[in-house]
Amino acid sequence: MSKIILSAKDLCKSYASGGLQNHVLKNVDFELRDGEFCVVMGSSGSGKSTLLYCLSGMDTATSGEITYKDKQFEKLNEDKLARLRRKDFGFVFQQMHLVANLSIFENIAVPGYLVSKPPKVHAKAEELMEKVGISALNKRLPSQVSGGEQQRAAVARALINSPQILFADEPTGSLNSKAGLEVLDILSEFNRGGQTILMVTHDIKAAIRATRLIYIKDGKLCSEMEMGLYQGENEKARESQVVAWLTSLGW
């Protein structure tokens, strides 16, 4: 079994709203292993995105411990967390969130500049664009390409620094089914290449790509299911397996 690279213990997250405390995560324990494709599912407001952002250091937990490679998040200041994000983590968002005034190539390359010399970054960016199938779009602005192409660019941007973990928050949520599948194929391809992925989704088509599924309800992890590595085969069987698991959880 591969080693644990990210873990959370007793993780709680609350928001104050209108004088009331809204407990979004309640004593969550979680582990992410190297090379796995972990998918977190749950209904709206269950806390899955909050879990993702806490685990990635984008948001701070109210209590509990998050440990990444012997580094405890609560002991890291904002700058150290930023450095962690730039080198070890990559992000793909539901709304793509490409910087509107940078070209597709620049969007992909910018995080690279934080870590490596420009020539190396440019070579890597071109390689990734080739891999995700958008090499012809390098000079276009985000507003000049389709949603699917934007999301592929976002995946390439997330991978520019060869991160240890790729976090994906509903990466197909804003895409049509064809574009969504293309993005999922890319993620699966990278996972097969050893990329660790933690993804939050509602989408069963996305969920079947997982090697492990976790279900979160009312801020608590209530179930998980191991699956084999997705090879692009047996899709129907994997889908049935996931549906059955979700049905058992009251999905």
């Binding site: 952002y53 984008m58 948001d59 700058d79 080198k87 968002f93 709304q95 969130h97 509903e170």
Partner: protein, 794 residues
């Protein structure tokens, strides 16, 4: 009511915008009220002072040793003359006046250029306002003296200091406002003593001078007044020798030259600030509409019509600005005496008066109306907002300009933060155009102000601007009779100085003549070359006896130009034609002057001999060496017969007083530029952070630290203000001289050449850029509060 509530809700949402617009409106209102009040009041102050001191329409000083008052009856007989009053003054040369300045220090010095006219103080002949005293002075006690205001600061004198005039001691009773001779722009000075003391002075060996105080029949402001005065002074005195005539109309122009100049510059600067405020407001309004596209769509969806929303936005800004404007008017109350006092010092007058209420009201209404109009015009887009589109799609996609959009790949050689700042700046040019234009204008104005100030910081450039030849010291014949011995000695001394000090020497003389039936100051020089004279605007300096150069003012007035003939009327009525060979500018008599050579002067008067010579020491001497030589010459040769005057004595008072006004005006310009840049950068930074909230979240999510993003953010403003500042420099180099010439043209010098140094050019740019950098960095603190959570779509 609903509109007002809507206005208030919009106000709450954009507190930072509102605060900035409020501050800008306050500053503009403060400046406008202060400048308009001072401009409005200064002319009245001068008139009031003329009136209370019973200043005549013109004065005649009879300088001949054996003068008589026969001219008085001749003048009285003329139709246009209402009254002539005779008086006697005592003229005392400067070496005979000593003072113990600022008593405690017991510094000894002497003042005046040539000397002073001393007159007896008689309240019935006019009362003077004394600084620090509410009432006009009724009487001067025995052993007391009153001095013009100018001397207080010039010589660090205080009430109670002792003045020694030809051995008789006087205690300073106070400093009076002299509307006639109180301005540093006028070379003559008068002081007043008790009648008995005056009699005592008059019996000593001092020179007695006859004075005539003449009033005309026409009332001030009448159309005929100027014509009467011109014709009278042109014709009545030209035949008289040793007569010095000075008119109220001339004094009015001379005395107010510097205050008018500075007020005009500050007024221009204030108008520029108003334009900047309106421009910034326009940007804020447009940004507000874009940023609230969805909210405005919601307002429409719940029943507000476009016009109601526009009125609400207009009300929001107009009310803020009106409040700012009212507060600005109140704040101008303490600023006005300060500003007015500085300007009036340059006219030798005492400032009095408060806010010009009509002007203040006008300012408030104008600001309210302009802001309302600009806001209403720029909210036109609201009409086109469809509630469904707004709510469904948010605001329209933003397309970024491709031109000048350098790729990050091409900027690889730059450090990351600079690269990102440059990229953001270039791709969001529209957003930063406001700052670019404002930085350009402010840098231009501040450089211009600094350059004007710089012109007068240097004696030589100031002389040049005034159309004077350069000189280190001058030698003039003081004796009034025509004894040939004096002139022989004068020539001997000239030759001695020229040889001993290797000095360039030129003759210079000034008088009034009747040129084309107009009283015109006639300046005679020779030689013209090598004496640092400003080059003729057209043609050349006169070389032969029948040649003459007109000033640009005269060129326009007479409609004569190079090659034309003009007529000088001699005292005996003989008309002498001269050919115009050049157009030469000089500030003398506000441009009402012309220039001839010494040979031309001899053509008018064969006995003419220049009684004044200028000496220019070799350029390779140090300042210290020059001072040593000048001091040596003065000590050795100054006498009852000859006057030796240094440039400092001749020009120092005037330059000091100009500097005393220009320095604070320049400081105000700098302060205004700093405040405007800080406020505008603050506003633009707030808008930028508001607009780029998501982008900041993205950059944080991919590993940029808050510190990096803040540096990049502030760098954008630094770069844009630096570029704006550089444009300001270019604008200054292209248009600075033109604008300056327009301003100085009002005062008879239509061509002024500025050559600002690197420091004068760069300092304002660096200042404006640093302020923009600091303000942006300060506001960028808000970046710390932006987290990746802004990217969560739940």
């Amino acid at each position: 009511m609903a509109i007002l509530k809507l206005a208030l809700s919009l106000l709450k949402k954009h507190k930072a915008y509102a605060m900035t617009i409020f501050c800008l409106s306050l500053i503009v209102s403060l400046m406008l009220t202060a400048v308009l009040t001072v401009i409005n009041r200064t002319a009245n102050l001068q008139n009031d002072s003329f009136s209370s001191s019973k200043s005549p329409d013109f004065m005649v000083f009879l300088l001949s040793e054996d003068y008589d008052f026969s001219l008085s009856s001749k003048l009285s007989a003329r139709d246009e003359v209402k009254s002539v009053r005779e008086s006697v003054a005592v003229f005392v040369i400067r070496q005979e006046i000593l003072f113990a300045g600022a008593a405690a220090k017991n510094e000894v010095g002497s003042f005046g250029q040539e000397g002073l006219y001393i007159l007896p103080y008689q309240i019935e002949n006019g009362a003077f306002k004394i600084k620090g005293r509410p009432d006009q002075l009724e009487n001067i006690g025995k052993g007391e003296i009153i001095l013009p205001l100018l001397y207080e600061n010039q010589y660090s004198l205080i009430e109670g200091d002792i003045i020694n005039i030809t051995g008789i001691e006087f205690k300073i009773l106070g400093f009076f406002e002299d509307p006639y001779f109180g301005s540093p722009m006028v070379g003559t000075r008068r002081v007043f003593v008790n009648s008995e003391d005056f009699k005592l002075l008059n019996t000593t060996e001092n020179r007695s001078v006859g004075c005539l105080f003449i009033d005309l029949n026409s009332q001030m402001g009448d159309h005929d007044y100027g014509e009467n005065l011109r014709s009278l002074t042109s014709n009545a005195f030209y035949g008289e020798e040793d007569v010095f005539v000075v008119t109220k109309a001339e004094i009015r122009q001379f005395a107010m030259l510097v205050p008018d100049l500075v007020a005009a510059i500050l007024f221009a600067f204030t108008l520029l600030s108003l334009v900047i405020t309106l421009y910034v407001l326009r940007y804020a309004v447009l940004s507000g509409v874009e940023g609230n596209y969805v909210t405005l769509g919601v307002f429409k969806a719940i029943g507000f019509i476009g016009r109601q929303i526009r009125i609400a936005i207009m009300l929001k800004y107009a009310l803020i600005c009106a409040i700012g404007a009212v507060l600005g008017v109140f704040l101008s109350i303490p600023a006005i005496p300060l500003f007015g006092g500085i300007l009036m010092d340059a006219a030798g007058l005492i400032w009095s008066g408060s806010v010009w209420l009509s002007g203040a009201l006008l300012v408030i209404v104008a600001i309210f109306a302009l802001i309302g109009l600009i806001t209403f015009m720029n909210t036109n887009k609201i009409k086109k907002i469809s509630p469904v589109r707004a709510i469904s799609f948010g605001h329209a996609p933003v397309y970024f300009a491709k031109r000048l959009n350098l790729s990050l790949k091409r900027l690889s050689c730059l450090p990351l933060n600079l690269k990102m700042a440059l990229k953001q700046m270039l791709t969001r040019r529209k957003q930063y155009t406001v700052l670019l234009i404002i930085a350009t204008l402010l840098a231009f104005m501040v450089i211009l102000m600094g350059s004007i100030s710089g012109l007068f910081d240097n004696d030589d450039t100031a002389l040049y601007v005034f159309g004077n030849p350069q000189f280190d010291f001058s030698l003039s014949v003081r004796a009034t009779d025509d004894d040939g011995d004096f002139y022989q000695k004068f020539d001997e001394l000239t030759a001695e100085f020229a040889e001993k000090y290797d000095a360039v020497v030129y003759d210079i003389a000034e008088s009034y003549t009747v040129l084309e039936n107009t009283r015109v100051a006639l300046v005679c020089f020779e030689p013209f070359d090598g004496i640092g004279m400003i080059e003729p605007l057209k043609g050349r300096f006169p070389q032969y006896e029948n040649e003459l150069a007109l000033s640009p003012v005269m060129e326009l007035q007479f409609e004569k130009t190079i090659g034309d003939t003009v007529i000088i009327t001699k005292p005996d009525g003989e008309e002498v034609p001269f050919i115009v060979v050049g157009i030469v500018q000089s500030i003398r008599d506000i441009g009402v002057n012309s220039t001839i050579g010494i040979s031309g002067a001899k053509r008018l008067n064969p006995d003419f001999s220049a009684s004044n010579r200028g000496f220019i020491l070799p350029a390779n001497l140090t300042v210290k060496e020059r001072e040593t030589i000048v001091d040596e010459v003065i000590e050795k040769y100054e006498s009852d017969d000859f006057s030796v005057m240094s440039k400092d004595v001749f020009f120092g008072q005037l330059l000091d007083s100009i500097r005393a006004v220009l320095s604070p005006a320049t400081a105000v310009a700098y302060a205004l530029a700093v405040v405007l840049v800080a406020l505008i950068t603050f506003l633009l930074s707030m808008i930028a952070i508001y607009r780029e909230n998501t982008d900041i979240g993205i950059f944080k999510s991919i590993g940029f630290t808050s510190g990096q993003l803040r540096i990049q953010f502030a760098l954008r403003f630094l770069l844009i203000s630096l570029i704006g500042g550089l444009f300001g420099i270019i604008l200054n180099l292209v248009a600075g001289n033109y604008l300056l010439s327009l301003i100085f043209g009002l005062f008879g010098v239509p061509k002024v050449s500025l050559s600002p140094g690197a420091f004068e050019l760069m300092f304002p740019v660096v200042l404006v850029s640093i302020i923009a950098l600091l303000a942006a960095f300060l506001v960028s603190g808000r970046i710390k509060q932006v987290s990746g959570r802004v990217l969560v779509a739940e």
